[in-house]
């Protein structure tokens, strides 16, 4: 089923003028209401009137996470807080979260985009949707929830954690659709095996997975272990949350971008010049209709390419290839964004600890694991075991406190962390994604 047939199957000749009109309106409104954006545009001598074609978008300056951080918390909102009905936030590079806001209309739009996403995955109002995305500041849980309710499905707001209980609920309520991160889906599959629950005890037929990169082989594993069709979705809080792009169940290859609301570009990750259609580069989005928190040319740091061939499902939106990597050092651990600089921030805030560390990420069983190796300097060294163990616990606790991700700490000898060309290799990612 196509949720919004009028827009999702719109001929390109009609879609592009709509995008241009919306882009012009959005740029004019942002220029008028956000001093920060206005200053950035004035700096490069661009005014809203200069946007005459869609290609003129490359006259506009980019927006990055750094811009969001500088304007923490509400500096980039275009409406007064009394018109904002919801706030979400995700972790930032220095411990400061990135904050996004939604008006009533934004929430309705978001719900519709998630309904489109779920419908593309093959879900309907007859489904029982088990939502294991985390509810809270993270956009995943509530974004998916509103979309599923809007679809008319029966929603089970399970949120994350307590896998055994989740499986019992899925079995007893006969859930047909699972929403979660792909790694959590595999964790559920393993817990099921431990409990002696087989896929035939459940009624699941589709899983809608996002919030972290995953491979085709992981898709095969999930589909086999849970006996479902696994669908990839894409979104980020800075754009709206989940609901930016979604695979159709007919093809399961390439994610249709909701182009009537988000304008995608692919740029060279070094020069930031626009790349021709089909070329691989950094994915950049401009929101076309968002009210409270629109963004212009937001650099996602995700690598992808746009696929323009017609799709069997009937949708005319271009598809983005499954995200394969990033242009920065952000790690996604169990769905949580982690920057090495955040770990560094924790370490240097502990007296005597030097920022000589290495992060080792792996996937054991189906869960991401993170181990942080920290060199022991003389300032923190003690001849007593309990003092070193207390130090290691303190680091572990502070990281968990800041990032919400648990990790193992290993104290290591000075200079034992590999240094390449004089610069330490901060991250070793052993996961095969």
């Amino acid at each position: 089923m196509i949720w919004d047939e009028e827009h999702e199957t719109m001929p390109r000749e009609a879609l592009e003028p709509l995008q241009l009109r919306r882009l012009q309106d959005q740029v004019a409104r942002i220029y008028a209401t956000v001093p920060y954006y206005r200053a950035k545009m004035d700096e490069v001598n661009v005014s809203p009137g200069d946007i005459k074609t869609l290609a003129d978008i490359n006259k506009l300056p980019f927006t990055t996470k750094e811009d969001l951080r500088k304007n923490y918390p509400f500096g980039l909102f275009t409406v007064p807080l009394e018109r904002v009905v919801r706030i979400h936030a995700s972790s930032g590079t220095t411990g400061k979260p990135t904050v996004v806001g939604y008006t009533k209309r934004d929430i309705t739009l978001w719900a519709n985009l998630m309904s489109r996403t779920l419908a593309a995955a093959g879900a309907t109002s007859k489904d029982v949707i088990h939502n294991s995305y985390g509810y809270g500041l993270f956009t995943g849980g509530m974004g998916a929830h509103y979309g599923a309710e809007n679809l008319g499905a029966t929603v089970v707001p399970a949120s994350g954690g307590n896998s055994k209980r989740q499986i019992t609920i899925m079995r007893d309520f006969q859930a047909t659709v699972l929403l979660s991160t792909p790694s959590y889906a595999l964790n559920l599959a393993d817990t099921m095996a431990d409990m002696g629950v087989t896929p035939s005890d459940l009624a699941l037929r589709v899983g809608v997975f996002g919030a972290e990169p995953w491979s085709e082989s992981m898709r095969e594993e999930i589909e086999k272990k849970l006996s479902i069709k696994a669908i990839d979705i894409y979104g980020l809080s800075e754009i709206i949350g989940p609901g930016v792009a979604a695979e159709c169940h007919e093809r399961q290859s390439g994610l249709h971008i909701m182009e009537d609301h988000f304008l995608p570009e692919i740029v060279d990750p070094e020069t930031f010049d626009p790349l021709p259609l089909g070329a691989k580069g950094e994915l950049v989005f401009t929101t076309l209709t968002k009210e409270a928190f629109p963004v212009i040319r937001y650099r996602t740091k995700d690598f992808s390419r746009l696929l323009t061939d017609p799709c069997i499902c009937g949708r005319t939106f271009y598809r983005m290839e499954k995200v394969t990597g990033r242009s920065d050092d952000m790690l996604i651990i169990r769905g949580v964004n982690v920057f090495p600089s955040q770990i560094e921030h924790v370490l240097v805030s502990i007296e005597g600890v030097e920022p000589h560390y290495q992060i080792i990420v792996d996937r054991k069983g189906n869960m991401d694991t993170m181990e942080v190796h920290v060199e022991v300097s003389e300032a923190v060294f003690s001849d007593e075991i309990k003092k070193l163990e207390a130090l290691s616990k303190k680091i572990q606790y502070d990281i968990k406190d800041l990032l919400g991700v648990s990790c193992q700490i290993k104290l290591v000898e000075p200079k034992s962390i590999q240094r390449s060309e004089g610069k330490a290799q901060r991250v070793i990612d052993k996961r095969k994604i």
Partner: protein, 143 residues
């Protein structure tokens, strides 16, 4: 009456202990007493040597994390109950032992016990009052 002990941080990987003893051997440093405390991930080697300064210097130059601590070394008679009577006095004095290790002398008539107390000055006072024989640094380094 305090004796200097050096502590060295060790990752649990093969050959590290051999490396340390080789460094000390090369500098002509003699190990008087040692103990190794370990956890699943790391270990702490504690040594009393005849030349603390040179040993620290040599190990630091080779990149080891080294710390110096003061410990108390006492003599107990090498017969049943020798240690028990000293520990009883430590208990009576309300002293806290962080860790301890022992070694015997060549003569074999007395054993030496090394204590790491959380409050070394209080410990020295208690042991002195109890007439326990406390060895000086010079005596220990020269054993």
């Amino acid at each position: 009456m305090k004796v200097e002990q050096i502590a060295i941080f060790l990752e649990n990987k093969s050959g590290r202990l051999a490396e340390i003893t080789a460094i000390l051997a090369q500098k002509g440093i003699n190990i008087r007493a040692m103990s190794l405390a370990d956890t699943a991930d790391f270990g702490i080697l504690r040594l009393i040597v005849n030349d603390t300064e040179s040993a620290c210097q040599a190990l630091r130059n080779k990149g080891f994390t080294v710390g110096k601590t003061d410990v108390v070394v006492i003599e107990v008679s090498d017969k049943p109950g020798g240690l028990a009577s000293v520990l009883e006095k430590i208990r009576e004095g309300g002293l806290n032992i962080e860790y301890m290790y022992a070694f015997t002398q060549k003569s074999g008539e007395t054993g030496l016990i090394i204590f790491r107390f959380d409050d070394i000055d209080a410990a020295l006072k208690t042991l002195k009052n109890a007439r326990v024989r406390i060895l000086s640094g010079e005596e220990v380094y020269a054993i």
